[in-house]
C-alpha cells in the first residue's frame, strides 16, 4: 500500500478551494459512489471575523455563503465538506471524496487520480494569477532632488 502524502485537513482544504469545473473533471465520477447522505447539501451563511493589525479586537467583517454536506460510505467512513458558494454538487462530491480518502484501500488511488491533479491545477492557477498581478506592480522610489547641495 502506498503512503498518502495528504492529511485530512489538507485534502479537505484542496477539495474546498478547487473550482467546480476542475473538481468535476477530476472527481465527477465519485458522485456514483454509493453513500448514505447524513446531511443533504445545504446552503447557509457564516460570519467572517477579521482583525486589523495584530492588536485590534476581532470584528464582524461580513457573511460568506457556505454549503455543507455530510455522507457515510459503505464502509462507515463519515465524509464532511464545507465549501464557499452554493454549489450542492460540489459539496456532495467533496464529502464523498473525504469519506473514501479515509479508506486505506482507496486513498492512494484517489490521491493520484483526484488530489494530485487538483493540486497541480490549483498551484498553476495561483501562479498565473500571481504573474498577472506581478505585471502590474509599481515600484515607488524617490529621485535624489539635490536640495541639500
Amino acid at each position: 500500500m502506498d503512503t498518502v502524502s495528504f492529511n485530512r485537513q489538507s485534502w479537505m482544504r484542496l477539495l474546498a478551494l478547487s473550482s467546480w469545473s476542475d473538481l468535476k473533471e477530476c472527481a465527477g465520477y465519485l458522485a456514483l459512489v454509493t453513500c448514505e447522505i447524513i446531511r443533504p447539501p445545504e446552503t447557509g451563511l457564516v460570519m467572517l471575523r477579521g482583525r486589523i493589525g495584530g492588536t485590534g479586537s476581532a470584528f464582524n467583517m461580513g457573511e460568506a455563503t457556505v454549503t455543507r454536506c455530510a455522507v457515510r460510505s459503505a464502509k462507515s467512513h463519515e465524509g464532511h465538506a464545507y465549501i464557499m458558494g452554493r454549489n450542492h454538487e460540489h459539496a456532495k462530491i467533496a464529502a464523498i471524496c473525504d469519506a473514501v480518502m479515509q479508506d486505506d484501500n482507496c486513498s492512494a488511488r484517489i490521491e493520484s487520480l483526484v488530489l494530485l491533479p487538483l493540486q497541480k491545477i490549483l498551484v498553476e492557477r495561483r501562479k498565473v494569477a500571481a504573474q498577472k498581478a506581478a505585471a502590474t506592480k509599481v515600484d515607488f522610489f524617490t529621485l535624489v532632488r539635490g536640495e541639500n547641495d
Partner: protein, 197 residues
C-alpha cells in the same frame, strides 16, 4: 454512527412543525404525527422530529438519564447544533422518556417576570396518548373541557404541573409525543385530576 435526519429538510421540517403548532393551539388534542425522519432507537422519530424542528444552537437541551446515550447525544449535536446540558436550570428543552423515568420538575427554569419565555419546554415521550380523562384540561384553545391521558404519568407529575400554574405567566410548556402522535400542554391551560374543573 450518526443517523441521517430529514431527507428534504425544508419540506419535512415544515410538515413536522405544523402538527406541533396545531397541538400547542389546541391543548390536549391529539394530532397524527408521522415525521419522515430517521432517529436513534432510544429517541424515536417523533421526539427526534421535535428536536430537529424546534431546537438550535441557542436552546440548551437537557436529557433524562435513560436518553443520554452516545448515539442520541451525537444525533442531537450534529443535526440541531444545540448544546447538551446536565444542569436543569440552564435547559430550554428537556427530553423525558416517561416509560423509563420522570424526573422532578422543580429545578427547571420557569422564566422571569421580565422574560417569561426563558423557561423550559418539556418533551415527554409516552407510548400512547389517549383522550381518556385521567386529567381534564380547560383554558384558551379548548371549548369547554378536554380529557387527556398518557400512561406512566403519575398523579405526582400532574400535581407538580398544577403547582407550576400558580406563577402564570411564568411556567413550563409540555409537548407529549406518542407513537405517531403529538399533543401539547401550554402553561395557559388549567389542569384538574379528578375531572372537576
Amino acid at each position: 454512527m450518526t443517523d441521517a435526519a430529514f431527507a428534504t429538510p425544508a419540506h419535512d421540517s415544515a410538515r413536522s412543525f405544523r402538527p406541533i403548532l396545531d397541538a400547542m393551539a389546541n391543548p390536549g388534542k391529539i394530532y397524527s404525527f408521522k415525521p419522515a425522519v430517521q432517529a436513534p432507537a432510544g429517541l424515536g422519530p417523533e421526539a427526534a422530529a421535535v428536536a430537529l424542528v424546534l431546537c438550535d444552537f441557542q436552546s440548551p437541551i437537557w436529557l433524562e438519564r435513560s436518553l443520554r446515550m452516545a448515539e442520541i447525544l451525537q444525533y442531537i449535536r450534529f443535526h440541531t447544533g444545540a448544546p447538551i446540558t446536565n444542569s436543569k436550570p440552564e435547559a430550554m428543552f428537556a427530553f423525558i422518556d416517561a416509560t423509563r423515568a420522570v424526573p422532578s420538575l422543580t429545578d427547571f427554569p420557569m422564566g422571569t417576570q421580565e422574560y417569561p419565555d426563558r423557561s423550559v419546554t418539556l418533551v415527554i415521550k409516552a407510548e400512547r396518548l389517549t383522550a381518556n380523562p385521567d386529567v381534564t384540561f380547560k383554558g384558551p384553545g379548548i371549548q369547554s373541557t378536554r380529557g387527556f391521558s398518557a400512561p406512566h404519568l403519575s398523579p405526582a407529575f400532574w400535581s407538580s404541573m398544577i403547582a407550576s400554574r400558580t406563577g402564570f405567566p411564568l411556567g413550563m410548556d409540555v409537548i407529549f409525543v406518542g407513537s405517531h402522535q403529538v399533543a401539547a400542554l401550554p402553561r395557559s391551560t388549567q389542569i384538574s385530576i379528578d375531572g372537576a374543573v
